[in-house]
């Protein structure tokens, strides 16, 4: 039976991006469907009735929800090419820990750098840099978190890089000044076709954030 893959997604979502990169790493063909989050499709509501969120990967009609779970699923099913998780259980646990860390800390903190002002914003900027510094420590001297090639931590984190310009501009700070290693890592990732062909343009993301800010009355 031919594999049928449909990805329900939203172009600037860093969570959707990680699924797109994972699919690209595995060389998988899929149908991309852009969701209007103000008017979600019946398919999305049917495939993710609990959370009604993107991304959702529909594989032969069956839904896989939650981006970190989707990435592990892709890695398990198409295990013979470009492994994203290590095979050693201990190293897998470490990789999962850092993806969990990114998911719990980076999104909210990043959001607060552009959606808050004053003291709250300053606090968010400081926390954001601290989180990236911890990740830099974890990266160490390796080219990627996954070692010599992209691993699930790289795939999970790189989607945030197209948001850096927005965080920096609206928060008035420089990520590169504080975390040069992360910027170096972003550049190395961007040399990979799966990443360069997937990452939306940072200025385009900025335009989207500006629209969001207008909507929330922040402009």
């Amino acid at each position: 039976m031919a594999e049928e893959l449909v990805l329900l997604d939203f172009w600037p979502s860093m969570f959707g991006i990680r699924v797109r990169i994972a699919l690209a790493e595995k060389g998988l063909k899929y149908e991309y469907r852009e969701e209007d989050l103000t008017n979600k499709s019946p398919l999305l509501l049917q495939m993710n009735p609990v959370h009604k969120k993107i991304p959702v990967l529909v594989h032969n009609g069956k839904p896989v929800c939650e981006s970190a779970i989707i990435v592990e699923y892709i890695d398990e099913v198409w295990h013979d090419k470009s492994p994203l998780l290590p095979s050693d259980p201990y190293q897998r646990s470490q990789a999962r820990f850092w993806v969990d860390f990114i998911d719990k800390k980076l999104y909210d903190t990043g959001r607060r750098t552009w959606s808050t002002t004053g003291e709250e914003q300053e606090k968010a900027k400081k926390e954001f840099i601290e989180i990236l510094k911890l990740l830099e420590e974890q990266l160490g001297d390796k080219p990627f978190f996954g070692g010599e090639s992209l691993g699930n931590v790289d795939v999970s984190l790189i989607g945030f890089s197209c948001w850096f310009y927005s965080y920096e501009t609206l928060g008035n700070f420089s990520i590169g000044a504080e975390c040069p290693k992360i910027i170096g890592w972003v550049e190395r990732c961007s040399n990979k076709e799966s990443v360069s062909k997937t990452l939306p343009d940072s200025k385009k993301v900025f335009g989207f954030v500006q629209e969001l800010r207008k909507k929330f009355g922040l402009e």
Binding site: Y73, Y90, R92, S93, Q94, R96, F97, L134
Partner: protein
């Protein structure tokens, strides 16, 4: 001889999950009880990021975060499997494990708050319980003994921790009864099934002690807020 140590606390639902998993698989381990108000230097060394229990230390290497520990245990000791082998069934299991993880903090906020604020968290928690009742424990007339079917799995351990604490702490200490039988018949049946598993039954924290400890904690919390 494999060296397995668990830095935990008997009143922590997260710690209990790990104890249950190790015992269900028959893995011998050394339990190191941590005083959460005075964490050991070793714990802080093993979990510098979150500084929390549980931490599983296997042959000197630490693993943190209870559900990540459980996946590690499952992969390292495959006997008495606690996750399905089919990738799609694993997706479903992991989805509900994540849901349980997200439910935890909301429920615990009922312990940490009172009045109108608590009402808000109570409402959110009830909605999450409703989702589990209607969508995780069987659809229509098809009843499941455990979340994954006939066998206990990591999903049961994930929810079991919260369920037990809901009944013992939230109900007895905070005085908020969420799991009314008539509203959540499937959840009620599942909790009975869960607690009847010998390993679970024999490894639940002492109820009286736990109520006492959490009562003290809540008094302190509310006094300082």
């Amino acid at each position: 001889m494999e060296e397995v140590k668990l830095h935990g606390n008997c009143f922590s639902p997260f710690s209990c999950r790990v104890t249950w998993a190790l015992k269900l698989k028959g893995i011998p381990f050394e339990n190191i009880e941590e005083d959460l108000s005075n964490k050991s230097p070793l714990l802080l060394q093993y979990n510098p990021v979150n500084k929390q229990i549980p931490v599983l230390v296997h042959v000197g290497k630490p693993i943190c975060e209870s559900m990540i520990i459980l996946e590690y245990i499952e992969e390292t000791w495959p006997q008495n499997p606690l996750l399905p082998t089919d990738p799609f069934e694993r997706v479903v299991a992991r989805f509900w494990i994540k849901f349980a993880e997200e439910m935890g903090p909301t429920m615990w906020m009922m312990f940490r708050t009172s009045g109108e604020e608590q009402e808000k968290f109570k409402k959110e928690s009830l909605e999450m319980l409703k989702t589990i009742e209607e969508m995780a424990l069987g659809v229509g007339d098809h009843e499941k003994k455990f979340f994954g079917g006939d066998q206990i799995s990591l999903v049961d351990l994930a929810f079991g921790a919260h369920a037990h604490w809901l009944l013992e702490v939230i109900e007895k200490v905070v005085g908020v009864k969420l799991l009314e039988d008539h509203k959540f018949p499937r959840l009620h049946a599942w909790i009975q099934n869960f607690k009847q598993v010998p390993v679970i039954n024999q490894n639940l924290p002492d109820s009286d002690q736990m109520v006492l400890t959490f009562k003290r904690n809540r008094e302190r919390l509310l006094a300082s807020s």
